[in-house]
């Protein structure tokens, strides 16, 4: 029932609100807070801690935007959304940005009326199974029952993979992650499938995480990133360059700890990044010191990664593809100049 009401409510927005979507920056400033769509609780990416404060890699993107625009990373209203409700919420104007482990695909980028602003995490889809099943590869999963969340790319990838490999399967799709996981744990499904990072995060919620393993197979590309609506180019730029600012800051060695001393750096790239020279921030519609605000409040990309999902977190995910391009990964921030 709740689900249907949420959907209809969002729909009412779309039907009744006059077209006033074009000025997100002004709306955010007037409101004094950013409305950010996140997951309903995915450790490492977006989940509330024991004091109810949202943390995670996806959350940090929103905090960075709030820092750049409002100079306060806490001025964010987080809206937890299931996979299937997230796009309607963004389309309807309820959100300013959606930062919810969302895969960039062509149809989402076009016919859903959305713009993907970049990739905050390069992921791929995998399978979680019980150790006791003694399955070593996804190829052995013929005839298995698979639990998945509705409205995800995962639901479609499973269909593709099993069809391509001519394997039979049964897919049971749930609207929330909790229901999906609970049913898997109850034994209704042999397999729980999702993006690999999320498998690690969800595994921590199981009663006996060590009884379950993530199979080595990765069956898809899942570039996850922040999303905005079509129709507001300025806001699109702000969100996009907030992420790139964090990545460039890491590349240039600007961290939360040293950002103030870096203001005195003679290097031209750092001077431009931190707004000591030029007016790049103003070209975005922000202040000159926009990146200083982001780094001071949130830190650079690498810091956020390690803190939330990397070595400094219970997930301890290897950076892998998400290393910087000059360190063997594919994270690459276009030049800030």
């Amino acid at each position: 029932m709740k689900i249907r009401i949420a959907g209809t409510f969002a729909l009412a927005f779309l039907v009744t609100m006059p077209s006033a979507f074009a000025q997100t920056l002004k709306a955010v400033k007037d409101r004094g807070s950013l409305s950010c769509g996140v997951s309903q609780g995915l450790p490492g990416f977006s989940s509330p801690d024991d004091k109810g404060v949202w943390t995670g890699l996806d959350v940090d993107v929103c905090r960075a935007i709030a820092a750049a625009v409002l100079d306060d990373p806490m001025k964010v209203k987080f809206v937890p959304l299931s996979a299937k409700d997230r796009f309607t919420a963004l389309q309807s104007g309820e959100l300013d940005v959606l930062s919810r482990n969302t895969t960039w695909t062509l149809s989402r980028d076009t016919s859903l009326g959305l713009n993907f602003t970049g990739v905050s995490y390069y992921d791929g889809q995998g399978f979680l199974v019980r150790r006791s099943l003694k399955v070593n590869s996804a190829r052995d999963l013929g005839g298995a029952s698979i639990c998945v969340q509705t409205g995800t790319t995962n639901e479609q990838n499973v269909a593709d993979y099993f069809k391509a490999n001519n394997l039979k399967y049964e897919v049971i799709a749930f609207s929330t992650a909790d229901e999906t996981l609970k049913t898997y744990e109850a034994g209704r499904c042999d397999v729980f499938t999702s993006d690999v990072s999320q498998l690690y995060a969800q595994r921590l919620k199981l009663a006996a995480p060590n009884d379950h393993i993530v199979l080595p197979d990765v069956i898809s590309k899942e570039p996850l990133g922040p999303v905005v609506r079509h129709g507001d180019d300025q806001w699109f730029d702000i969100v996009k360059w907030t992420l790139y600012a964090m990545i460039n800051a890491e590349e240039l060695g600007v961290t939360k700890a040293n950002v103030d001393s870096m203001l005195k750096s003679p290097a031209p790239e750092i001077k431009r990044l931190l707004g000591v020279e030029g007016n790049l921030g103003e070209q975005l519609g922000l202040t000159k010191d926009w990146v200083v605000r982001i780094i001071r409040h949130v830190g650079n990309y690498g810091e956020s990664f390690e803190r939330n999902v990397g070595s400094g977190s219970p997930l301890a995910i290897d950076r892998g593809l998400n290393r910087l391009w000059n360190k063997g990964g594919i994270q690459y921030g276009p030049p800030i100049r």
């Binding site: 609100m17 859903l112 298995a144």
Partner: protein
């Protein structure tokens, strides 16, 4: 009596005037017109706003998406479906699944509801208390909770496929559902069906004749031994003469689960159980109220005539109480159908789950999909109401109001 009846004149013009103008006369018509204008204007505003918004954001619109490939799997389907089918087919799959749970749910809820409702009125203290306890317990717990209870706490605790509970080695019960042998039609199938049809037809005819004789002569005629003989004898004769009607495909454990046979998925079982037991609690109250609405004198008269309690209920009380029972019963059927959309919580692929859920989030066409879904529920509800009204009319057509 017919001679005394005279149909009143139609007075169409007058009635129309009363309908539109009401007591306010000409002003009434003006007010109605204004209201109509406001409604039309609102409708126009909403559509043009929606169109402008969709266009400004370049969100796809229209019904073209129905022909696109869905690309996702569905766990239960009454028609052939695979991931390369279109969204239109997904819609049909979801709709049929919704109709399936609703139909089975309504039938079961009615049976349980009547039993519990009659039970509450039973002179047997224990039966009455049990029925009362059932009603109070079930109707006071949230439905979603009951669905999850059946799904996770009851069916979810069954053993896995490898430790299935075997029912005489024929059917198997595990946390993937119930697997039973599947009948596969053989050559003898067609004559078998004909034999059953014939037996049924003859039984009905005998029943009608017996009733007519009862009314004419007052002598009851026992039909059921004959009917039983026919219903068993004819199909059996066909099986012997025309060959076995079908063989059974035996399910067999292979890999993760049973292969072959027919399987009822636990999502369906849990949903049907929860919906029917829940709705039955309300139906029981409706039945009780309906029966208590029948004047006591009727029951006393029935027992004065020497009818047993069962016969009195069946012949005197229930038919009269139906007049009170039917309208609220229709409501319960409608509720059950709408409540079936809670299926998403346990992954049963109903219309809301596969169409207003997955299809919506894959295509993003919220307006079209929500409108279609609402329209479908409206249609199902109207059709159910119409059916029940027709039944009501049929039952009471001979009685004046």
């Amino acid at each position: 009596m017919p001679g005394e009846c005279r149909t009143p004149p139609l007075q169409l013009g007058h009635r129309l005037w009363r309908m539109t103008a009401g007591r306010a006369g000409g002003w009434g018509i003006l007010a109605q017109l204004l209201l109509l204008l406001v409604v039309v204007w609102l409708g126009y505003e909403i559509t043009s706003n929606a169109q402008a918004n969709l266009k400004a954001q370049r969100i796809a619109a229209g019904l073209g998406f129905l022909n696109n490939t869905a690309g996702f799997g569905v766990s239960q389907s009454l028609i052939a479906y695979d991931e390369s089918d279109t969204y239109l087919r997904v819609f049909a799959v979801g709709l049929l699944n919704t109709l399936l749970v609703s139909f089975i749910g309504c039938v079961l809820a009615t049976i349980i509801g009547f039993m519990v409702g009659l039970g509450r009125l039973s002179p047997n203290w224990l039966v009455a208390r049990l029925a009362g306890g059932y009603v109070e317990l079930i109707r006071n717990l949230p439905l979603l909770f009951q669905i999850l209870f059946w799904y996770l706490a009851v069916l979810g605790t069954l053993p896995g496929a490898r430790g299935s509970i075997s029912v005489f080695g024929v059917a198997f019960l595990n946390n993937r559902g119930v697997v039973v042998p599947r009948p596969v039609p053989l050559d003898g199938f067609a004559p078998f069906v004909v034999a059953i049809g014939l037996a049924l037809a003859v039984t009905v005819a005998m029943k009608i004749l017996a009733r007519r004789r009862l009314y004419q002569t007052g002598k009851p005629l026992r039909v059921w031994p004959w009917a039983l003989g026919l219903l068993v004898g004819l199909p059996a004769a066909s099986a012997v003469l025309g060959g076995a009607p079908f063989s059974f495909e035996q399910p067999e454990l292979r890999g993760f689960n049973f292969v072959g046979g027919t399987r009822l998925v636990p999502e369906l079982i849990a949903l049907v159980l929860a919906l029917s037991t829940y709705t039955a609690a309300f139906i029981a109250e409706i039945v009780r109220a309906g029966i208590q609405a029948v004047p006591k004198g009727q029951i006393e008269a029935a027992s004065a005539l020497g009818l047993r309690r069962g016969a009195a209920l069946r012949l005197i009380v229930v038919p009269q109480s139906l007049r009170v029972i039917l309208p609220p019963l229709t409501n319960q059927y409608l509720n059950l159908t709408k409540n079936s959309s809670l299926a998403v919580a346990i992954g049963y692929p109903d219309l809301v789950s596969v169409f207003a859920g997955t299809t919506l989030s894959q295509t993003g066409q919220a307006i079209e999909i929500i409108a279609i879904t609402m329209g479908v529920y409206l249609l199902i509800s109207l059709a159910t109401s119409a059916g029940m009204n027709l039944y009501n009319y049929y039952l009471f057509r001979n009685r004046s109001a």
